[in-house]
């Protein structure tokens, strides 16, 4: 039981180190800003998830018992990583891309919401206006 736990924890730790290294190397290696967004948000999240699973199994096998703090941390990271990636992508669209460079969005929207001005109402508001049913 003890040697099995040691093997599982070791494999998870090695996988975690590999994914962390790949995610951070991809940040240097990839050549465009939008593709550079891809490496850290996937590989590093996977790496830190492996570290957390290894920590859970280590405390299960070699210490007082299983702990659930790691599940909270990994749940938080897995929820927030896509939000962070989406925000950084929006910021890069806002700073580096012109509206003509992008394909038009589907639906009723005039343009991508990143390019909306703050004082002008968004296209969705007129679409959901109850004064104009059937629009």
């Amino acid at each position: 039981m003890s040697i099995l736990g040691e093997i599982i924890v070791s494999i998870l730790l090695l996988a975690a180190g590999f994914f962390g290294l790949v995610g951070s190397y991809g940040l240097i290696k990839l050549d465009q800003p939008m593709t550079r967004l891809h490496a850290p948000t996937k590989a590093t999240t996977l790496g830190v998830g492996s570290v957390l699973i290894a920590s859970m199994l280590y405390f299960l096998f070699f210490a007082e018992g299983i702990t659930f703090h790691e599940l909270m941390i990994s749940l938080f990271l897995f929820v927030t990583a896509p939000v962070v990636a989406h925000f950084i992508a929006k910021a890069q669209l806002h700073r580096n891309w012109k509206p003509g460079d992008l394909p038009a969005p589907g639906g009723r929207a005039k343009s991508w919401s990143v390019y909306d001005q703050a004082d002008e109402p968004a296209a969705d508001d007129t679409a959901r206006d109850p004064a104009k049913p059937g629009e």
Binding site: E6, I7, V9, S10, I11, L13, L14, A16, G17, F18, G20, L21, G23, S24, Y25, L27, I28, P33, R36, L37, P40, T44, T45, G47, V48, V51, L52, A54, S55, Y58, F59, F62, A63, T67, H69, E70, M72, I73, F76, L77, T80, A81, V83, V84, F87, I88, K90, A91, Q92, H94, R95, N96, V114, A118
Partner: protein, 89 residues
């Protein structure tokens, strides 16, 4: 065996942090810097939990949780500042 794997993981995450510092210093745009700082937060969380495994103490989980929250909020606030010019409208 597990100790060797643990120190290898420390080595990998230390090298990853050095690469992130390189990107923070040498990136051409501010978007890349924010992305590299967010990756640094995630790598630092992994290092904290590895340190907790090395010393067999559960103290570092609370630290890692707080660090994850602060990193998320700071990244979102900085992106919001880049998008709109202020954070709370």
């Amino acid at each position: 065996m597990m100790t060797i794997a643990l120190y290898l993981a420390f080595l990998c995450y230390g090298a990853a942090l050095l690469m992130n510092i390189w990107v923070v210093a040498r990136a051409e745009g501010v978007g890349d810097r924010v992305l590299a700082l967010d990756t640094m937060v995630i790598n630092a969380i992994a290092l904290m939990i590895l340190y907790g495994i090395l010393h067999t103490t559960p103290v570092y989980f609370e630290v890692a949780m707080l660090f994850a929250m602060v990193g998320f909020i700071s990244t979102v606030a900085y992106c919001r500042f880049m998008l709109r010019g202020n954070i709370i409208e």
